[in-house]
């Protein structure tokens, strides 16, 4: 019996170690595109060097990230779906939304381009994909990218939400998984440029549609309301938000490049985005 008590005490001690060690830290719920593109890996060490604050990033889809914020399990949400973000603030879960940066969406597909969309504008391209019944991979996970994708189909006059047909495959996963699936099945997918540039399994996929104004993708950051959840680390989180929209933070964001290409374009303070 002695042995058991000793082990029990050791476990109790071990379990409490992590809880004690993390003092100056915040939790940021963000999207898979900011994570998978390597952005956080680039800018967070700079922030920590300046303020000593550890930023712990939970990478989820926009829908899930906002839900995490609603539950009070994160101090900051950093996502890219403006209507949902504004509702988040309007409902009282967030304090204020700040624009941070943008990138664009692209349509990626097989180099052989069976639906013939290369170089077209987004509306024409989507119609062509539907008409040729070419495989299209949707994230289907209530993420910012998913929301943008649905909006684009709607603008093209195509209903993909009620029984679209076997060509439209909603996989319910993140951007990387969607790209993997597209590559493996020779399908088309809407991706953010950042994740695409950082993606290491491009295989036979290539960018086919880009540059259309409607493919603009804005990111916003919001402090989770301390009024709703007293556990929010208000001061530390505010320091992070302030840094992101400051000249220094914006420069850090612009500094993240892959093969010389910038992935995100800082635009804090620009009105209307």
């Amino acid at each position: 019996m002695d042995r058991r008590i000793l082990i029990g005490a050791l476990i109790a001690a071990a379990l409490s170690i992590p809880a004690v060690a993390q003092d100056k830290s915040i939790v940021v719920a963000s999207t898979t595109s900011t994570m998978d593109s390597g952005l956080f890996g680039h800018i967070l060490p700079l922030f920590k060097a300046k303020t000593g604050i550890d930023v712990k990033v939970i990478s989820q889809g926009t829908g899930q990230a906002l839900d995490t914020g609603r539950r009070g399990d994160a101090d900051v949400v950093f996502v890219h779906a403006k209507p949902q973000e504004e509702k988040f603030v309007a409902d009282g879960f967030g304090v204020k939304r700040f624009a941070v940066m943008y990138n664009d969406f692209i349509v990626v597909g097989p180099k052989t381009d069976p639906a013939g969309v290369k170089g077209k504008d987004i509306e024409t391209a989507l119609k062509a994909i539907m008409e040729s019944q070419a495989a299209f991979i949707s994230r289907g996970d209530k993420s910012g990218t998913h929301a943008a994708e649905l909006a684009l189909w709607k603008a093209a006059g195509i209903d993909v939400e009620t029984n679209p047909g076997a060509w439209y495959k909603a996989i319910g996963q993140g951007m990387g998984a969607a790209l993997n699936t597209a590559g493996a099945s020779g399908g088309y997918v809407l991706s953010d440029r950042g994740t695409w540039l950082n993606f290491k399994n491009k295989g036979e996929l290539a960018i086919l549609v880009e540059g259309d104004k409607r493919l603009f993708n804005q990111y916003g950051v919001i402090l989770v309301s301390p009024a709703k959840h007293a556990s929010v680390k208000k001061d530390l989180a505010q320091q992070f938000i302030d840094w992101l929209v400051s000249a220094e933070g914006q420069k850090a964001i612009a500094g993240h490049r892959i093969n010389g290409h910038p992935l995100f374009f800082p635009n804090a303070g620009v009105p209307g985005v």
């Binding site: 058991r4 082990i7 029990g8 050791l10 476990i11 071990a14 379990l15 409490s16 992590p18 809880a19 993390q22 939790v27 898979t32 998978d36 956080f40 890996g41 712990k56 990033v57 939970i58 990478s59 609603r70 539950r71 009070g72 399990d73 996963q173 993140g174 951007m175 990387g176 998984a177 790209l179 993997n180 950082n198 993606f199 290491k200 399994n201 491009k202 959840h229 556990s231």
Partner: protein, 230 residues
């Protein structure tokens, strides 16, 4: 941060991030098994030796929970520990502590069920002798657990194997935070989704090696048991 370099190169160059991930995986799964054992070993012994009302029900439920999908356990613990949940005040969501607790709950049924089987079989063998020797119930339990120590070690290693291999639970309650709650399995999931398949496979190879080593240990424990105690 792990980038495209192959996992093997990282091992030999002593990459800190990789070691941190492996160390965390071991820490979480070992702690989970020990925590689970504290509850599951006595429970298994109790189920084996005492016919109390509701015993059959407990056994059925335990056996059912052995097959509980890890992701379901993860979701349940997540809802409990979320700030909006009943245990939110503890503030342990997205920490290794939550991962340990969730994995402990996950492996508890299998350890309890295997313990019950082991002790039951051993009791069938020892029953007459121990009764003839007028051994007290408390001493019986201690004797059975001690004499079954090699089988029980194998049981714990089986629990460890289940814990180390799962990804659903630790992903949901841990959040896969780099340098903090990222384990081997969640790292593999992440690198796969980033398309860095060579790295993911390298990590997978390390994980498989770990699990093979654990199974070899289990086999070794049985052999030692057979040789030393017969």
């Amino acid at each position: 941060m792990l980038d495209g370099a192959s996992a093997l190169q990282l091992i030999f160059s002593g990459d800190r991030a990789l070691y941190a991930i492996v160390a965390l995986s071991l820490y979480v799964s070992v702690a989970a098994v020990l925590l689970a054992a504290l509850v599951a070993l006595p429970l298994g012994a109790l189920l084996a030796l005492v016919r109390f009302p509701g015993r059959t029900f407990v056994i059925v439920v335990l056996n059912a929970f052995m097959g509980l999908p890890p992701v379901v356990m993860g979701l349940a613990i997540y809802l409990l520990l979320s700030r909006s949940g009943p245990l939110g005040f503890l503030g342990i969501l997205f920490t290794p502590t939550a991962m340990i607790i969730a994995q402990a709950l996950l492996v508890m049924p299998i350890i309890a069920a295997l313990t019950r089987q082991t002790i039951e079989d051993l009791w069938a063998e020892y029953r007459e002798e121990l009764t003839a020797l007028r051994v007290s119930p408390a001493r019986r339990v201690a004797t059975l657990i001690w004499d079954a120590r090699f089988s029980l070690t194998t049981t714990l290693l089986a629990g460890f194997g289940r814990a180390a291999a799962e990804v659903g639970t630790v992903m949901i309650v841990g959040g896969n935070i780099e340098g903090f709650t990222r384990t081997m399995t969640t790292a593999i999931a992440l690198e796969t989704s980033k398309g860095d398949l060579p790295l993911a496979m390298g990590l997978g190879a390390i994980l498989i090696t770990l699990i093979i080593a654990v199974n070899a240990l289990a086999w070794g424990a049985r052999r030692v048991g057979e040789i030393r105690a017969g």
